[in-house]
């Protein structure tokens, strides 16, 4: 049995009166592709942010890669994010004044040292070898999202988080991005947690969990084929 990359027990997040996440117990085995579904406001992003070290829980236990994240201070969490996590947002959030190559190198810079050759090959890997010097404004939505993927995987994270990464993409680009993620997962062997509203997209995962008002209400496991 694979070891658990994520373990939570009684994980809770409240914003004042609003309880975005009710006590949640969740385990995610290393290497799994987990889809997270639920209607708007059900706590999907909240869960993702906690797991990615972008936010702190109000209560409960949260272990990622065997380490209790609650013990880390702000800079400790920043280190955790750059060493352990790759994040893909719905709004790609690229730095507008840096070109594709530089946006990828920025993640290297915060992680350790920028390596142009490596950044270039990551962009080639996502099919953007010909658009290295273009700024985000000069790229299509799908291309921007692929720059984000290149940036997310550049430091070989163990955990890849996506908050509706295909939410803004058309069907063709969505399939392209998901296929890319599938290939990369085979090579890089990271765990994927992806929030989506789209049943079809969720179906790319090994397992789907459903949140409703901060509570895990249901989960579906894909039958292992063959």
């Amino acid at each position: 049995m694979a070891s658990m990359i994520i373990e939570t027990a009684g994980l809770t997040k409240s914003y004042g009166e609003i309880r975005a996440l009710k006590p949640l117990d969740l385990t995610v085995p290393e290497g799994e592709w987990l889809s997270v579904m639920g209607h708007s406001g059900s706590g999907k992003s909240t869960l993702l942010n906690l797991v990615g070290g972008l936010d702190r829980p109000t209560a409960g236990m949260l272990k990622v890669g065997g380490e209790d994240l609650l013990g880390r201070d702000e800079d400790g969490l920043a280190r955790f994010r750059r060493e352990f996590v790759g994040i893909i947002f719905q709004q790609h959030h690229l730095i507008p004044y840096l070109n594709a190559l530089e946006n990828v190198m920025l993640a290297q810079y915060f992680h350790s040292v920028p390596d142009e050759a490596e950044a270039r090959s990551a962009l080639e890997r996502v099919g953007l070898g010909h658009r290295l010097k273009n700024r985000p404004g000069e790229l299509s939505g799908g291309e921007q999202q692929r720059v984000c993927i290149a940036r997310a995987i550049i430091n070989s994270p163990r955990l890849l988080l996506g908050d509706e990464p295909t939410g803004n993409l058309d069907h063709g680009s969505t399939t392209m991005v998901l296929e890319l993620l599938r290939e990369l997962r085979v090579e890089e062997r990271f765990t994927i947690i992806m929030v989506t509203h789209n049943q079809e997209v969720a179906a790319w995962g090994d397992r789907t969990i459903y949140l409703d008002d901060g509570v895990l209400v249901r989960e579906e496991k894909k039958l292992v084929e063959g």
Binding site: N49, L54, R81, R82, H93, Y97, E102, L106, A107
Partner: protein
Amino acid sequence: MLFRILKNSFLKRPRSIFLVFLSITMGAAVATSFLGIAGEISHKMSLELRSYGANILLEPSAVEGGGFLREVDLPKIKTVFWKYNITGFTPYLFGLVDLTAGTKHERAVITGSWFYKQLLVEGEEPSFQGIQVIAPWWELQGGMPQDADEAVVGASLARRLGVVLGSRVVALARGATKPFRVVGIVTTGGYEEEQFFAPLVTVQSLLGKMGKLSRVLVSAVTVPMDAFGKKDPAAMSKEEYEKWYCTAYVTSVAKNVEEVMAGSRAKPIWQIASAEGALLTKLNSVVLLLTLLALGASAIAVSTSLMASMAERSPEIALMKAIGADRLQISAIFLGETLIISLAGGIVGYLLGDQLAALISQSVFNSAIKSPLWLLPTAMVSAFAVALAGSAAPLRRAFLIEPVKVLKG
């Protein structure tokens, strides 16, 4: 990479960069010019203050009666270590005489002195010394004596003797008489109004004290006394003594003069020396305060424009944090940016401030100044200080940005 980020972010926001640059430049320019003329002001002010009276008194050191200073030593005053700080000096010889003017008689103090005497000292620039130099405030009706038998009479003595300009007064001392012509009547509000002033040589021969002096008043440009200056030189170590001797305290200049006047004891005239010192110290603190205020103002300006651009850049900062930038890395980017601007601001500020100082000095003191080299580092340090101080609040704001809130949606 840092360089690429900075370069691109510079090109991206030239307006806000320019604003920050302008604020820093202003601060550095004002600091440069204020500090540049501060030294000048002190110097000029203390020169002006010299016209309010001598600040060093030389008297015979012999405690009891009969001691005199020697006139032959006087030129040496122009050769001492601090000679350029000595703006003037005047010798005095005092005696009692019986004065007769027409039918009136008065017993009075006769003062032999220099009025405006050219002094030639080998190897030194010729100079003028005398009462006119060290006591320019004298309110003189008529003029200063030019000839050996001309005299200036104190106003109240003149009233009692009933003399006016051109009157004849005969002085009697030791059985000898000497006639004088009154060429000036002096009003000072002080003891001078009771005295009878005549050229030094004349009085020396009348009193039979050739080459002798009762006292010498010296007017010197000095620096304000500080804690170190007040220490007792006798108790100083060799290094301390050297430092003391090479600082233009009124005490060290006095010591300097005392060394060349045989049998003399030099005393600072404290009322004058300390009033001047207090004034100069105040002046310097005012300049320093103004400089600090100007720097503070430009730090606030820097802070304001950085704050504004920080609001605009918060998505960028949130993103950097989300992909793992810690506080040090965030600081490096923003401080790097402001420090580069301040480097340019410091240099330009220095050049501007230098011009400004020259302009101010020209219009206020009517003299050109050459600003000292230490002003460049001073300008740079001010620019950096302004940049750092101005970055504090924006940086704090950057630290407080929460990526989850900014990147939502």
